[in-house]
């Protein structure tokens, strides 16, 4: 349920940036140009590994003005649930994949007087599409990227085209050596904060900012969904009249899709709220960033893309 017809894209180049990082460059499979993507936008790839169908969202790292190719950077994670591992191991140049039109849930605030970007690891990807846009606007910004020692040179190279005369820093000394509170405390009025990375980093950044008095409306985060695995459970889809088993490493949404039910979804990372589904019975283990704490406590809705059941059974109005 993503807006518009999907795009068919051909893999034109795969570049290994680091042992676990690959850049995939896509071109339109049938010629022509891609739609202009929003800065900070992401695309959803449909990956078919035999009978298994996976849908993964990746941020575009190419500038919004680039319409002849779309690039993404994919990290191969040890505990990959299939998508990233499939891209790293099985996809080769020339392959044609299905891609949903780019959308953005992480956009630059037009009224900001300054933009503060904080990335952690692969969370650099949406920030890479912000940089050319900020440069084009002549906007004031500052970027801090946290990286492991071995990946710091990779990120430095990716940031190099934008680094001249700008406050762009790669921190490889670990989270403890990064003076987050000092950074957030010295920002001028009118600064907007954007953070993308592991949940622990996003929680630390948003929590520290809130503690220093930053208003919610100036804190923006892009979630990659984090860990969706957990104990297996059974989901009863009342309207569809079927029951599905949700495996340990499978998301509830994936299990519903595997059963042939067209469930709503957009970001697949617990951020957009599109997949909100009413819960009739059972308790949800909420892992999304969309519902408020009160909404989570009321237990009336579940985000099927990242959340699971706290117990053996969940009855959904789907």
């Amino acid at each position: 349920m993503t807006a518009g017809e999907p795009l068919h894209v051909r893999v034109r180049e795969i570049e290994e940036l680091a042992p676990s990082l690959k850049r995939f460059s896509f071109e339109p499979a049938h010629g022509g140009q891609f739609p202009t993507p929003p800065a900070g936008g992401h695309v959803m790839l449909t990956l078919r590994d035999g009978a298994r169908v996976m849908k993964n969202a990746y941020s575009l790292v190419t500038p919004p003005t680039e319409r002849t190719r779309y690039d993404i950077i994919v990290r191969l994670v040890a505990q990959s649930r299939g998508g990233s591992s499939f891209l790293h191991r099985s996809v080769v140049p020339g392959d044609v994949l299905e891609m949903a039109n780019p959308i953005s849930l992480f956009s630059l605030a037009a009224t900001a007087r300054k933009h503060l970007l904080v990335g952690g690891g692969i969370g650099i990807t949406p920030l890479l599409s912000f940089l050319p846009e900020l440069k084009a606007r002549g906007a004031r910004f500052e970027l801090h990227q946290l990286a492991t020692g071995e990946e710091a040179p990779v990120f430095e190279r990716l940031l190099a085209p934008y680094a001249a005369a700008e406050e762009i820093r790669v921190h490889s000394g670990g989270r403890a050596a990064f003076d987050l509170a000092g950074l957030l405390a010295r920002q001028p009025l009118g600064t907007h904060l954007y953070v993308c990375g592991p949940h622990s980093l996003m929680d630390a950044v948003t929590g520290t900012a809130a503690g220093l008095g930053w208003p919610k409306g100036k804190i923006h985060k892009e979630s990659f969904g984090g860990d969706v695995s957990g104990l297996p459970f059974r989901a009863v889809l009342k309207k569809s009249g079927i029951e599905v088993e949700v495996g340990e490493t499978q998301s509830l949404l994936e299990a519903i899709e595997a059963a042939g039910v067209a469930a709503p979804c957009l970001c697949r990372g617990g951020a957009c709220g599109e997949c909100a589904t009413p819960v009739i019975e059972g308790e949800a283990d909420h892992r999304d960033d969309f519902l408020s704490a009160e909404e989570k406590a009321s237990g009336k809705l579940i985000m099927t893309c990242v959340s699971r059941a706290r117990g053996p059974r969940l009855v959904l109005d789907l």
Partner: protein, 195 residues
Amino acid sequence: MSDQGIKSRPSYQPIAPDPAGRHHLMVVDGAEVPPEALAEGVTPSAFEVWTVARRSAVPGVPMMEEAAGAVRTFRSTPHLFSALEERLARETMGLRFYAVGPEPFLWDAYGIGERAGLSRQEMGFAHVGPKARRIFCVHCREVMEKVTTSIVTCTGCGAALFVRDHFSRRLAAFMGVQIDAEVPGEVPAAEELYR
């Protein structure tokens, strides 16, 4: 006539410091914080307060204290606003800004806050004092202060203007629209509504 049902007319609430804020700066168009400007149980000591004395004899400020409970007095509102611009230009995130006074003062303060990067979420306003309005003539762009009547003659173009509840935050003024545009000369009697 006093409530025209126009949504842009601002509404106000007594002020309480936003618990999420790091520092709270309040500007008052008067010599003191009027008690009715504050929510129940809130005292001025929760804020750094800037007041307007409207006299030349104000205490000097050799060391400016920027802390809750500190009070700084200015000779006039332009005096306060000019210091406010300088202050906000060097402020950092976490500040909350509040204004207390008549509407033109509140929205002039809002404009300074907004230009400094503050969002509506970081500002609070309490309307105390006269209800007189600043009116913007939509025909000739003249701005008139202290209008208290439902109809006013524009000091710029002479048109008889109906004082609408339609409020512009950008101009910090209510809109005045010619009332006899359809039938020239048909001007109802003005009522005193905004005192």
